[in-house]
Amino acid sequence: DTAVSQTPKYLVTQMGNDKSIKCEQNLGHDTMYWYKQDSKKFLKIMFSYNNKELIINETVPNRFSPKSPDKAHLNLHINSLELGDSAVYFCASSRRGGRNEQFFGPGTRLTVL
């Protein structure tokens, strides 16, 4: 069974479009995250959710909006896509507490043309 799953794995779209990436975890974790990994492999945290509440919101454009319908899901919606949004986006989850490791999804490679 896949612990953290993301769909789609690849996403190719035109500038200006709106797209969503879905994430689901079946680990019973109460905290979920979205990361952006650029071409240099640098990981930047974008959001985290704890019990459906946004608890970290880094300085990302407001075109990005996380949506959590329940504790097991954290979707990422992106409006008006730009070329610079091209990256790999990772979803992760963990138990609450800094000592608990994160479990990562396989990633979604977004290409904006």
Partner: protein, 115 residues
């Protein structure tokens, strides 16, 4: 402010040779430390973690890491590298704040293994 530094952007080793990947952190309290590996086209997988106790921790795939508080380091080691170890390696610090979990990742070290 919390931060993680991986000084080596890229390392090349021969198969069978020993490996050490460096990680330095900056954190005000006792850190929770992690090493993750990312194989090409994959997500991140936990290799090992430290949060208390024995400062030498064992992980999966034959990796180990040693926490040295005096040096603010958590270096990853493997005595004999296999070709399948070629990947990107990330060190991270975890913290529990009033607003929840926070994780700080280093910029990663890319490992190439030559036959």
């Amino acid at each position: 402010a919390q931060s993680v530094t991986q000084p080596d952007i890229h390392i090349t080793v021969s198969e069978g040779a020993s490996l050490e990947l460096r990680c330095n952190y900056s954190y005000g309290a006792t850190p929770y430390l992690f090493w993750y590996v990312q194989s090409p086209g994959q997500g991140l997988q936990l290799l090992l973690k430290y949060f208390s106790g024995d400062t030498l921790v064992q992980g999966i795939k034959g990796f180990e890491a040693e926490f040295k508080r005096s040096q603010s380091s958590f270096n990853l080691r493997k005595p004999s590298v296999h070709w399948s170890d070629a990947a990107e390696y990330f060190c991270a610090v975890g913290a529990q704040t009033g607003t929840g979990n926070q994780f700080y990742f280093g910029t990663g070290t890319s490992l190439t293994v030559i036959p």
